[in-house]
């Protein structure tokens, strides 16, 4: 009973993914009948076409640059803020925490019109900074919240001892707290990267051409070009899923811990 239930759940979760993978490897003729599930002859043709006939490296590069830059900046700024919010007592702390939470809940579409006008005025539409800046709106609050909960779990003894010994606050942060917090920092970096990698709405709004389109934009606009090349679409979905799957497999325990810590409090 338990085993049957578990099998069913695993199947329900995995089948669409397996099926997408198989479709990406099936000749175009067989894709015309989407119900055909049985694998037949496999082909790498769609993957070849994806990179040779259609420049899929560009969206991958764009996504990597944007997600990595956003993550690096957010984690840096976010770690400083989170440490202060978790450890230091200062006026307005609750206010800042609350504001971060509220901004994290903003619907992105509510920021599209002003950010579009702003980026246009600055000449930043269709540039990397023009994506990284808007991405802060959702990435920074998430980072701050995850790290605040992580910092609070760390034992304060060592820091306090160092402070008593006369070390400055910033030195304590740099030499004691950050090394101890590395696992938490890594988790929030992984989560931020995944959120950025998957983002569609802002990328769709602030890129105006294929030269800066990110992977989700390229995949979403793929479909109505020419003749619905399902084979290539599935090759693209598999390629765009690989980085996040790799991250999930490598960090799964931490991701779950991070997600629950960040939300349960």
């Amino acid at each position: 009973m338990k085993r049957a239930g578990a099998t069913l759940v695993v199947a329900a979760i995995a089948l669409p993914l397996v099926w997408a993978l198989l479709s990406s490897l099936s000749p175009e003729a067989r894709l015309a009948r989407p119900t055909a599930f049985v694998p037949g002859a496999l082909t790498a043709e769609h993957y070849r076409a994806l990179f040779a006939e259609r420049d899929f490296w560009t969206p991958i590069r764009n996504s990597l640059v944007v997600a990595a830059t956003t993550t690096a900046l957010c984690v840096t700024i976010g770690a400083l803020a989170a440490y202060a919010l978790a450890r230091l007592r200062f006026r307005g702390r609750d206010l800042v925490l609350g504001a971060m939470l509220a901004v994290g809940m903003f619907p992105q579409v509510a920021l599209v019109s002003p950010l579009f006008l702003l980026l246009r005025a600055l000449g930043l539409l269709n540039t990397y900074p023009g994506l990284v800046l808007p991405y802060f709106t959702f990435a920074l609050p998430v980072t701050v919240w995850l790290l605040v909960s992580y910092f609070r779990q760390l034992p304060p003894d060592v820091e306090e001892a160092a402070l008593v010994d006369g070390a400055s606050r910033l030195r304590v942060l740099r030499e004691i707290v950050l090394p101890m917090a590395m696992p938490g920092v890594a988790t929030s970096a992984v989560l931020t990267f995944i959120y950025c990698w998957n983002e569609l709405l802002l990328a769709l709004s602030f890129t105006t051409g294929p030269e800066r389109a990110t992977v989700p934009v390229a995949v979403a606009l793929f479909r109505s070009e020419h003749q619905v090349p399902w084979g290539q679409i599935f090759a693209a979905t598999v390629v765009s899923t690989v980085p996040v799957v790799a991250l999930v497999l490598a960090f799964q325990r931490r991701i779950v811990a991070g997600l629950t810590a960040g939300s349960i409090r």
Partner: protein, 737 residues
């Protein structure tokens, strides 16, 4: 835009941006050749011809180099991209390939150059094509090729072309049954511009029109209702497949090419592709004819085609014109006709005999069809008018509303759009402005007092150094969040009180008070979008909570292999929503569900549940693991059944975790965008359009920033209101413990 900051700051930032993207430079930095950029079709035979011709052009003009900028092949998407480029003030592409219906819009916005000074020979082109490229007496684009809708028919299944629409249906039905062919007639009936061209042909065939000679909307006429009724009956009667409600040109072509259809309505480009015996099953077994008429109308083809225009900001307008003159010359026109099946825009070529062996139909017949082809209304707001019409056509064809009422709604909407665009912009009086200033002040005051309360909640024993360090450390994060989230949100609110239309820069940005909100409140599409959003949220959150709880209980009991199962459950959560939407879209592609107004929700809800239930389960699992096992031992000692344990021990203790999942999932669900954008595009009609998608389309499709901002504020209010309620609930849950 006003108030976007000091000038110096703006210049500095722009300079930084130019450095950051490393653009500019290659035109003047030492390179002797002028590099032109052209945006056009880069795929298939069309792309191949273009590439050959550009090489010839470069050989003739060694000082010029031409680079093709790839742009989406789907017309609607290319239009949106052009508007974004031009509206952003981009200097390239220098030359743009336009659809016939865009010229007026881009010309009226001042984004493309008038070509009068280059001396275009007006006598060389079809008058209707030139008329579509004029705006206020000036020519803005040079015709590249013309398109006219045609009827393809299988010569091995029927022995002649139908003489009337009724005969077409009868023949399709008969041949379909006799030869066991899947489809009678295939057309382009997805919710996009192609649907309007198909309808325009049927409409003219019944004696109707979209607009009269003075540009007044007349699409709610009796012949129009009959025309739409004809199309609807063809779909409901099984002559046109229901799946065609999701089809564009290539979908129809593939069906016909695979031998699955007796008739097809399509553009001339399909002909050479269908004759390619390597890929086509119908090579040599089909012919083309003009679309037939119905009683009371005349046979008609929709006029389409491509033209070339010059970006008004291009730094090389004269070189750009040289390129256009070359590409539109007769020699290149003939080559394009021969290789890509694209019809020349010059009538003289049809009479010269040069096209005799090139076109699939006798040039004289083609000439007659094109000369009688029906143009679409020439107006700067065509795109928005067309969208309003597409929505109602699609609603009627998918059985959501009868043809008459659908067209009445379309006509109303189109008249309102036209009035918005041409009428004097409403400007609110000073009294109204003062009222808004008061409201804004009140809001700021309330926010300030709340903030002050948070401020005063001073923690015990604050050290001055902690105070300083604390603010030093949070300052960057606070500055960033203020600059890119809080300030923009206030800007959105302000923007929503203005009739700001980016397509009409000359109109400025008049203050209109709550007029945009009032317009929304009077719009059925808005209320439907709101209802869809709530429906989607309720359905998905209920399912995800229920199934997530079940899954969490299951995972909690599974001892072995939990790590593997956890990794697996994380996968749907981690993959891009776009990918999940595509997978489910494809799974349902052949079922017809995606074009059914009710059943389309199936794939949407399933995809969301599939993607986020595992995530909900993991959060709940963490809650379960925090429950003290001895409580269950005690319950068992008291003789509680498994069900009683669940209801009296697990659920109460799990309440905080359940609430958290509820909060996160609802807030995500009310701003749903990616999933619908990819899986159904909000269709059929607007049957699955959530409010975020409506806002996005209004902002970046129609460029109506005032209205779009008002819609965005509604999404924000919805999310914020829910968040407030939930915060109360969470506090309550916390107190109970």
């Amino acid at each position: 835009m006003r108030g976007a900051g000091g000038g110096g700051w703006r210049v500095a930032a722009a300079a930084a941006a130019a450095l950051a993207i490393g653009c500019g430079g290659d035109d003047h930095a030492g390179a002797r050749r002028v590099r032109l950029r052209l945006s056009g079709s880069a795929v298939g035979a069309e792309g191949a011809v273009l590439a050959t011709q550009l090489r010839r052009f470069e050989a003739l003009h060694p000082d010029l180099a031409v680079e093709v900028v790839p742009s989406p092949d789907a017309a609607d998407q290319r239009h949106q991209m052009y508007v974004q480029w031009l509206n952003a003030g981009a200097e390239t592409p220098d030359v743009l390939q336009l659809d016939v219906i865009w010229t007026a819009e881009l010309a009226a916005a001042g984004w493309i150059l008038a070509l009068d000074r280059f001396g275009v020979d007006a006598g060389a082109y079809f008058p209707a094509v030139l008329a579509a490229n004029r705006w206020q007496g000036h020519l803005y684009a040079a015709p590249l090729f013309v398109d006219a809708g045609m009827l393809y028919y299988r010569t091995d299944l029927v022995d002649h072309a139908p003489a009337s629409l009724d005969e077409l249906v009868a023949m399709a039905r008969q041949a379909k049954a006799a030869h066991r062919i899947r489809h009678g007639l295939v057309v382009q009936a997805a919710r996009y511009e192609g649907l309007v061209t198909v309808f325009l042909e049927i409409l003219t065939a019944h004696g109707g029109a979209i607009a009269d000679g003075d540009g007044r909307v007349v699409v709610d006429s009796e012949p129009a209702a009959r025309a739409l009724g004809f199309l609807r009956d063809a779909v409901q009667g099984g002559v046109v497949p229901t799946l065609a409600l999701g089809w564009q040109e290539e979908d129809a072509r593939l069906a016909f090419q695979n031998g699955d259809a007796v008739f097809m309505r399509n553009w001339p480009y399909a002909y050479p592709l269908l004759q390619d015996a390597n890929k086509s099953k119908v090579a040599g077994r089909f012919a083309v004819a003009p679309m037939p008429a119905a009683a009371g109308g005349r046979p008609a083809a929709a006029l389409g085609g491509a033209q070339l225009a010059i970006n008004a900001r291009s730094r090389h307008p004269d070189a750009a014109w040289q390129l256009i003159a070359f590409l539109t010359a007769p020699e290149q026109q003939l080559e394009r006709a021969r290789v890509a099946g694209e019809y020349p825009p010059s009538p003289a070529l049809y009479r010269s005999g040069a096209l005799d062996r090139i076109l699939p139909v006798p040039p004289a017949d083609a000439l007659r069809v094109i000369e009688r082809a029906v143009p679409r209304p020439v107006t700067p707001i065509y795109a928005e008018l067309s969208t309003a019409l597409q929505i109602q056509l699609h609603r009627a064809l998918s059985g959501q509303v009868a043809p008459g009422p659908a067209l009445a709604t379309a006509a109303d909407d189109m008249r309102r759009i036209a009035a918005d665009a041409t009428g004097p912009a409403p400007v609110a009086g000073t009294g109204e402005r003062a009222a808004f200033a008061l409201v804004a002040l009140a809001a700021v005051a309330i926010a300030a007092t709340r903030a002050a309360r948070g401020w005063r909640r001073r923690p015990a024993s604050t050290l001055p150094s902690e105070e300083r360090h604390g603010w030093l450390l949070v300052a960057p994060a606070v500055a960033v969040v203020a600059a890119i989230a809080v300030f923009p949100l206030a800007w959105t609110a302000w923007e929503s009180l203005h009739a700001h239309d980016l397509r009409m820069p000359a109109r400025g940005r008049p203050f209109v008070g709550v007029a945009e909100y009032a317009a929304l409140a009077a719009s059925a599409r808005f209320w439907a979008a709101l209802a869809h959003t709530l429906l989607f949220a309720i359905a998905t959150v209920t399912l995800e909570l229920g199934l997530g709880l079940g899954l969490a209980l299951l995972l909690h009991r599974v001892g072995r292999g939990r790590g593997a199962v956890r990794a697996l459950t994380l996968l749907p959560w981690a993959i891009p929503t776009v990918v999940a939407a595509l997978i489910w879209r494809f799974l349902f592609a052949d079922t017809g569900w995606l074009v059914d107004p009710i059943r389309a929700w199936g794939p949407l809800i399933l995809a969301d549940v599939w993607k986020t239930t595992p995530f909900a389960a993991l959060l709940l699992l963490a809650g379960l693991q925090g429950i003290d096992e001895t409580l269950y031992d005690a319950a068992r000692t008291d003789g509680a059944s498994a069900w009683q344990q669940l209801v009296h021990v697990t659920l109460p203790l799990l309440k905080p975790a359940l609430l958290v999942v509820l909060v996160f999932r609802t807030l995500d669900a009310v701003r749903v965008f990616d999933l619908v954008f990819v899986a159904t595009g909000g269709g059929p009609g607007t049957a699955t359009e959530p409010i975020s998608l409506y806002a996005f389309t209004t902002l970046l499709g129609d460029l109506r920033f005032g209205r779009g901002s008002a819609l965005s504020m509604v999404v924000f209010a919805l999310a914020f209101g829910l968040a407030l309620v939930y915060v109360r609930l969470l506090r309550g849950a916390g107190d109970e413990r």
